[in-house]
């Protein structure tokens, strides 16, 4: 049987969805990045008093502030990929599913940006 795929498409390996295994791969990469970040952040936060001064002083340390920005970026990218997968599996209406994937994607993007701006604001003490 003849193969209708071009040599270029076979080399690129991106399939009919045009993005190949990038969803799967990015989900794993963000998961690996989150392993140290999550443990560091959870125990770091637990060992702090919860008043305004202690929390802002903690975030104002450059290493902590930058780590927190990294965590927010990885966390929301991972959340977007995961929620997309859940929607793809459980929402059967194509229109509803597409709308929900777009809406949740925008929501997570906005949350990540708001969070990163908040950390930067605390970092520079504005």
């Amino acid at each position: 049987m003849s193969d209708f795929r071009t040599p270029l498409s076979r080399v690129k390996g991106l399939g009919s969805a045009k993005e190949g295994t990038s969803h799967f791969w990015h989900q794993r990469l963000t998961a690996i990045a989150l392993i140290p970040l999550v443990i560091w952040f959870a125990f770091g936060l637990a060992s702090l008093p919860t008043d305004y001064a202690s929390l802002t002083a903690y975030i104002q340390q450059p290493v902590i502030g930058v780590g927190l920005i990294l965590l927010i970026a990885m966390l929301f990218y991972h959340a977007q990929l995961g929620v997309q997968m859940v929607l793809e599996d459980y929402v059967s209406s194509h229109a509803k599913r597409t709308l929900m994937i777009i809406a949740s994607g925008f929501l997570f993007l906005i949350c990540a940006l708001v969070g990163i701006v908040a950390v930067i604001k605390i970092l520079v003490g504005a």
Binding site: R28, A31, I32, L34, I35, V38, I39, A42, F43, A46, S47, L48, P49, T50, D51, Y52, L55, T56, I59, I72, L75, F76, A79, G82, V83, V86, L107, F108, C111, A112, V114, G115, V117, A118, V119, K121, I122
Partner: protein, 129 residues
């Protein structure tokens, strides 16, 4: 359903007892959704912190109410469960741990370690307050 013929019938999904590995599989997704909501809560707290002491003063009592603690405890366990079970997934991704006995063992291990990490985090937090 006709059961009078006496031949075995396949189990219905609602009376089928899910194996532990299947329970963990769906729990991974449920905790993932909980954590996505928890991440949005984190942004809410961070924004309040960035907006200044007055706005954080409105958030802090909510976090430290009994309901706030209950939500935070739920998020902590969800976090560590998703964390431990996620590491199981990463091992499967490289082809390790697919044997039924191994999968069962790591399932139990994930629950136990998640519980230990949850308790450890709250013991650390209780020591500070």
């Amino acid at each position: 359903m006709n059961t009078s013929s006496g031949h075995p019938t396949s189990p219905h999904v609602q009376i089928y007892r899910m194996p532990l590995t299947a329970v963990l599989s769906i729990t991974h997704r449920v905790t993932g959704i909980i954590l996505a909501i928890g991440a949005i809560l984190l942004i809410w707290v961070l924004s309040a912190l960035a907006a200044g002491p007055e706005s954080y003063a409105k958030v802090q009592p909510v976090l430290q109410s009994w309901f706030g603690y209950l939500v935070l405890l739920g998020i902590t366990f969800s976090l560590y469960f998703h964390f431990c079970n996620g590491i199981r997934h990463l091992f499967w991704d490289v082809g390790m741990g697919f044997e039924i006995e191994t999968a069962d063992k790591t399932a139990k291990l994930a629950i136990i370690i998640a519980a230990i990490l949850t308790i450890a985090t709250w013991v650390v937090a209780a020591g500070v307050e």
